[in-house]
Symmetry: C2
Subunit: 105 residues, 2 copies
DNA sequence: CCTGCGGTTCGAAAATTTTCGTACCCCGTC
DNA sequence: GACGGGGTACGAAAATTTTCGAACCGCAGG
């Protein structure tokens, strides 16, 4: 089995988790990057998150469990993209983030 | 001296601190409450934050240092209000919070 | 088939956040 | 002026988050 990645139902995700996930600058910048092309799947190797590979993996998990991203394995590498239904669950939250920390900030 | 409460210049406040402060539901609800009447000073005794008095005091401090609130002592009790220049520093962030957790949610 | 690369998970250690008690302060009241 | 109510600051303990290494897995290439 290609490793089970838990993407919780968004109805289970609480604001605590979302704000908690966004309380880290590197994670915030990942979200901003993904949001800049919401339909694109981005290889996680291209994302600027410091630390060992287990640390990076931990950050993807935090973002996943906050409902912010979808993570898909391609055997040879991981792809991340913005979770498309996030906006529906927490409308406006991402807009607000992008306005504060979007391109050019 | 009536106890020195540190209200940092908003330019010093980072988004990390703001999202961190909002990662706690009780603190979020305080902000929502204060935002419901932004010019009003609310006695902190009326706010629903559980814990001992030092714990409550700690939460005010977190909110203060995130630039979210202004805290004023009246000798006989503390008054809190929304920090008026917060919106200017982090435009849209409060709106987003209120939309998600405002009255009736 | 073996090896290397890119990943996850687990467990432990480190760092940070949260909680509380205690000591202390200010103010109003008796 | 002593007392009590409402607060902050500090220090220690508890809880949570973050980091890392080690063990492991799947796939692509030689």
């Amino acid at each position: 089995m290609p490793v089970q990645l838990s993407h919780p139902p968004l109805t289970d995700v609480q604001l605590d988790a979302v704000y908690g996930a966004l309380a880290d600058r590197h994670r915030r910048l990942v979200v901003v990057r993904l949001a800049s092309s919401p339909d694109e799947e981005v290889p996680c190797t291209t994302l600027d998150v410091p630390g060992s590979k287990s640390t990076r993996s931990y950050h993807w998990k935090v973002l996943r469990e906050a409902g912010l991203i979808v993570q898909r394995s391609t055997g040879t590498g991981m792809l991340l993209r913005l979770r498309p239904d996030f906006e529906e669950r927490f409308p406006g939250l991402l807009d607000s983030l992008l306005r504060l920390e979007g391109p050019g900030r």
